[in-house]
């Protein structure tokens, strides 16, 4: 490889790092609701997680896997971090970068769950992890307040897509 290519590669890598690290958007409830209510025939897999939640971290790769397994289908994964907004730069962005998460990650910047949780889903008691499967054009919606194993998640999504 000639030196110029090295330089180019290094520059590209340097440019990639900060752009990846800044992928986590802070959103408020109305933004999240907009996403949950999109009238498309895409199936959204929305996982509520946090960097401090061990079972959440354990199941994250299963959600990541969906991106490859269902690459040809209209399936989209959204990871909604429940970390405190103050932890965005300190914990969430480094975590997303370190794990190389490919799914879209957002951080829900709301303090009092009592004012917004029912608007996300009435079945959610507040325990993490929590997962929603939504397809608005088919008017289908499933809620899971539990930690998935990979076969369980595959089965739930398969059944939902049928």
């Amino acid at each position: 490889m000639n030196p110029l290519k090295y330089l180019f590669l290094a520059a590209a890598l340097l440019l990639m790092l900060p752009s990846q690290a800044q992928q986590v958007a802070l959103i408020k409830l109305p933004d999240l609701q907009k996403r949950l209510n999109r009238k498309t025939d895409t199936t959204y897999v929305i996982n509520f997680w946090a960097t401090w939640c061990a079972p959440c971290i354990k199941e994250l790769p299963y959600f990541e896997q969906i991106n490859t397994t269902y690459a040809k289908q209209k399936v989209k994964v959204l990871l909604v971090s429940m970390d405190y907004a103050s932890q965005l730069d300190k914990k969430v962005k480094p975590f997303v970068l370190k794990r190389g998460l490919k799914s879209e990650v957002v951080l829900l910047n709301e303090t009092d769950p009592n004012t917004w949780m029912d608007k996300v889903d009435g079945k959610w008691s507040g325990a993490l992890p929590f997962t929603l499967l939504i397809n608005n054009s088919k008017q289908k919606r499933m809620a899971y307040e539990k930690e998935f194993t990979q076969p369980e998640l595959t089965a739930a999504l398969q059944k939902f897509l049928q």
């Binding site: 946090a50 429940m82 009592n114 993490l128």
Partner: protein, 206 residues
């Protein structure tokens, strides 16, 4: 065919059991069952032990959850404020230590000692109490009010401690304290059920 029947029965049971857990649990106004659980000092504790209380603030909490830790001193403050008014705190750890080693009985003893818990810290070994109450996360709080002079308790409040888990100084609404003010005045809590983010209870794998 003979083999199929128990298999189908097992399937049905499996399907049913996966539905039962979220449906179970108390609503405000329900009668709350007493329990007998081991405290960090090795003694067994039940609600009926203390005849003089007007009720209890029962909180499902644990050692390792950052939310439980964030609320720890506020739970201690609740006890200091309300034990003298007849509502002491009873803390219960529902997590299966097999799923998270930091939740072992020994770790509970250490936690209670380091943080000087002024209330019992009980281990829900079979997770039966958490399931009966319908606790799903830590911390998850229940205010129980004694009915008459007996050992019957009614659920008066379920939910969050306040509206800001991260920072006690930023709290605008103290859900439990507001409910307690009304309950102590003999009135039902106007906000009797609230939601909060928390660590899912580490249920034993079946």
């Amino acid at each position: 065919m003979k083999k199929l029947v128990p298999f189908l029965a097992a399937c049905l049971l499996l399907v049913l059991s996966s539905y039962i857990r979220p449906l179970a649990g108390y609503q405000v106004g329900d009668k709350a069952a007493d329990f007998k659980l081991k405290n960090v000092d090795g003694k067994m504790v039940s609600l009926a032990d203390n005849k003089t209380t007007k009720g209890y603030i029962v909180v499902f909490t644990c050692n390792t959850c950052p939310y439980a830790q964030a609320y720890e001193s506020r739970i201690i403050a609740l006890h200091q404020k309300y034990a003298s008014q007849g509502y002491p705190v009873v803390a219960i750890n529902p997590n299966d230590p097999g799923m998270a080693t930091g939740e072992s009985f020994a770790a509970m003893q250490t936690r209670a000692k380091t943080k000087n818990y002024p209330f019992p810290y009980l281990v829900d070994e079979t997770q039966q109490v958490a399931q009966t109450y319908g606790a799903t996360r830590t911390p998850h709080l229940y205010v129980l009010t004694r009915q008459g002079t007996g050992n019957e308790f009614k659920v008066s409040y379920i939910g969050a401690i306040d509206d800001n888990s991260e920072d006690a100084k930023q709290v605008k609404i103290k859900y439990v304290e507001n409910a307690m003010t009304e309950i102590l005045a003999g009135k039902p809590a106007s906000t009797s059920s609230t939601k909060a983010v928390g660590c899912g209870i580490k249920w034993r794998k079946a």
